[in-house]
């Protein structure tokens, strides 16, 4: 008997998955939230703050996922993604831009090979469409030049206990990705309980996710410190068990540098240094970037900055 799964997952039927996932340890809500709150009291100052801000910038997936997105909007965002601070070219570029599938060509053309282009796919954000549609969504985005795919899991199937459906979808989408990296969005705000989040995390990792991602950003609550902490624990344990390192993306609701730094502290004290890289941790954000830039300017110039000193899109 052990606390965490040691034998490999072989039975991927719903029954098999149910048994596997139910064997995972439970999560105590109060304890988890208390631990996240304590880690949030870490005080990050001076040179460690400067480092944290630059690291956070390099981990941003700069995102626009609106019905009213146009090529113009995407091009402007891509320019900012490559050169976030027009007054300071020591500022790192972000990790990726994140757009809807039909705007991938515009994005790829704008960023060339300098940063990643992530596309949301599989009927983002709801995930309510047929498998064929989801596969087509994915394949078109990859063909258009996306090297990362952010898919959503079928929350309806998960909550109804049809774990095999959720699992098989991820496996199929991963295949459709080809060489593109797959981020699996759990939509923790709809999974509601931490036990569900732990199970969905393990299910996604076993199905081949390269990253597990908290949220679409379209549902509240999106990313929170406790839920991200829980997902970091899951990737830690998965790496322990299999040797494979899966990344974590916290998306939605992270607005300030202070918030972002708290997430980096979580990463640092849960999975450690190895994950403090854009290859294994990302922020899905839009307004966060400007706050990071203003804080960066503050650390550089010694006084508080303001919105006039950063660009809109």
């Amino acid at each position: 008997m052990s606390l965490l799964p040691t034998r490999p997952l072989t039975d991927t039927s719903s029954d098999g998955l149910k048994a596997y996932l139910k064997g995972l340890p439970g999560v105590d809500q109060v304890g988890l939230e208390a631990r996240a709150a304590t880690l949030a009291t870490r005080s990050i100052k001076n040179e460690s703050k400067i480092w944290a801000i630059d690291t956070a910038i390099s981990m941003v997936d700069l995102t626009t996922l609106e019905g009213m997105d146009t090529p113009g909007k995407v091009k402007a965002m891509c320019a900012k993604a490559l050169r976030p601070d027009p007054t300071d070219n020591t500022c790192p570029s972000v990790a990726a831009v994140c757009v809807y599938g039909d705007l991938v060509p515009t994005a790829r053309d704008a960023v060339q090979n300098q940063i990643h282009v992530a596309a949301v796919a599989t009927a983002f954000p709801s995930g309510r469409a047929s498998m064929d549609v989801k596969l087509m969504d994915t394949k078109e985005a990859v063909a258009a030049g996306a090297d990362e795919i952010d898919m959503v899991i079928d929350r309806g199937a998960f909550l109804a206990g049809d774990y095999a459906k959720v699992f098989n979808e991820i496996v199929a989408i991963k295949q459709a990705c080809g060489t593109a990296h797959l981020k699996v969005i759990l939509e923790t705000g709809e999974l509601k309980t931490y036990d569900n989040v732990r199970r969905a995390s393990w299910l996604a990792m076993e199905a081949g996710a390269d990253f597990i991602k908290t949220s679409t950003g379209k549902v509240s609550p999106a990313a929170t410190l406790p839920v991200t902490l829980l997902m970091l624990e899951a990737v830690r344990d998965f790496a322990d068990k299999t040797g494979t390192k899966v990344g974590v993306k916290a998306a939605g609701g992270i607005k300030t540098s202070k918030d972002a730094i708290k997430y980096l502290v979580l990463v640092n004290e849960t999975v450690g240094n190895g994950w403090l890289t854009p290859d294994l941790f990302r922020f899905g954000a839009s307004t966060l970037l400007n706050d990071l830039l203003q804080q960066r300017q503050r650390m550089r110039d010694g006084h508080y900055s303001g919105p006039d000193y950063v660009t809109i899109d």
Binding site: M1, L3, P25, L32, T41, N46, W51, N273, L276
Partner: protein
Amino acid sequence: MTFDYAPAPESRAIVDIDSNYGLFIGGKFVEPKSGEYFKTINPATEEVLSEVAEAGQADVDAAVAAARKAYEKTWSKMSGKDRAKYIFRIARIIQERSRELAVLETLDNGKPIRESRDVDIPLVAAHFFYHAGWADKLEFAGYGPDPKSLGVAAQVIPWNFPLLMLAWKIAPALACGNTVVLKPAETTPLTALAFADICQQADLPPGVVNIITGAGDTGRMLVEHPDVNKVAFTGSTEVGKAIQRAVAGTNKKLTLELGGKAANILFDDAPIDQAIEGIVNGIYFNQGHVCCAGSRLLLQESIAEEALHSLKRRLQTLRLGDPMDKNTDIGAINSQAQLAKIEELTKSGEDEGADRWSPACPIPEKGFWFPPTVFTNVTQAHRIAREEIFGPVLSVLTFRTPEEAVEKANNTPFGLSAGIWTDKGSRILWMASQVRSGIVWANTFNRFDPASPFGGYKESGFGREGGITGLGAYLDAEDKS
């Protein structure tokens, strides 16, 4: 690329420590008749913080007399409603001055500023706030329609949570209509002296609270004073027994809150990540200087190895160092004397065959420090499983069944607290009903609240502090038959 946290020191500028302090008697600071003073130091740096008075017999007499006078003339005649308002004032001033008090506590005690700021001081304010509300509601507390106070309370407190232990003693005493003479521990007098200042700011009638500093002799003189009606002591079991002997045959009411050797019991279905946090908090919070510390970890044998792996991994991120740094998790050991005790017992653990482990931990040059330590392959027969170490040292044992866990948990003269980690509600309640300890924490640890009674079974003492039960210690509520 490593994320090293830069130093994040809390500013010391907020405190104003005098070079010396007198005794707080009858509402004023007075020089000790004994003429004696002693130093208090910062255990993280060994720097002298101040000199405080050493109360002798004449000083103890004066303090008790002042408390008696205030009791007879003022406090016992005052309505509960008015007593309440004084105590509310004190609570609010503590909240106002909370940052200053937290810094002072950390400098004098050695505990991390994060703990004094986030745990100690908020609880101090809460204790006064909670008990203030009882002062005019004692008729509802189940002690009869008109419970009376006792008179003068002599209170001796330890060094591990100086201001919090003061709050646990003074708040209920005052709420119930008693006056007090309190002696803080000799290594941590400063927040008690700041509290005296707060009493002045609150315009508390003179003599209701008296603070006399000193060491063991002062404490002995205080509890043995014939004009004291109630003795309350928190400290070591050894001294507790001496006090019980000294008080025997007098009419003084007595409560004791003594040592512990709590079992923290981990079942195979525990929510493991939170359980590991609970274990860490249980023994490394406050450097393990906690009477209710979870100093014995009882692991279900089937998952022992895995749990230890998770525990050791977690211990790697503990930060030991300057208590004034906001990122410090483990502060200084309170004194040279306590450090010597910890070292002696830890050595016995090695000598008796247990396996010792600590994470790599840079130790500062000056000050008193001990790295977080885990002993595995410990059995009940080891000294480190029986004696209270009062330091950041965890002894790990195993069990096979719930009944065995209960047996091992109870197999000790102590009985202060216990921790139970399992996902199964009925097992939590069954274990709670079986362990012989005054406090049971289930899926949590080291939780304190003024509404929640705290105290031990067996040699961990008798009497409770907090809640309705705790009021009883300060009321004359004995039935006449």
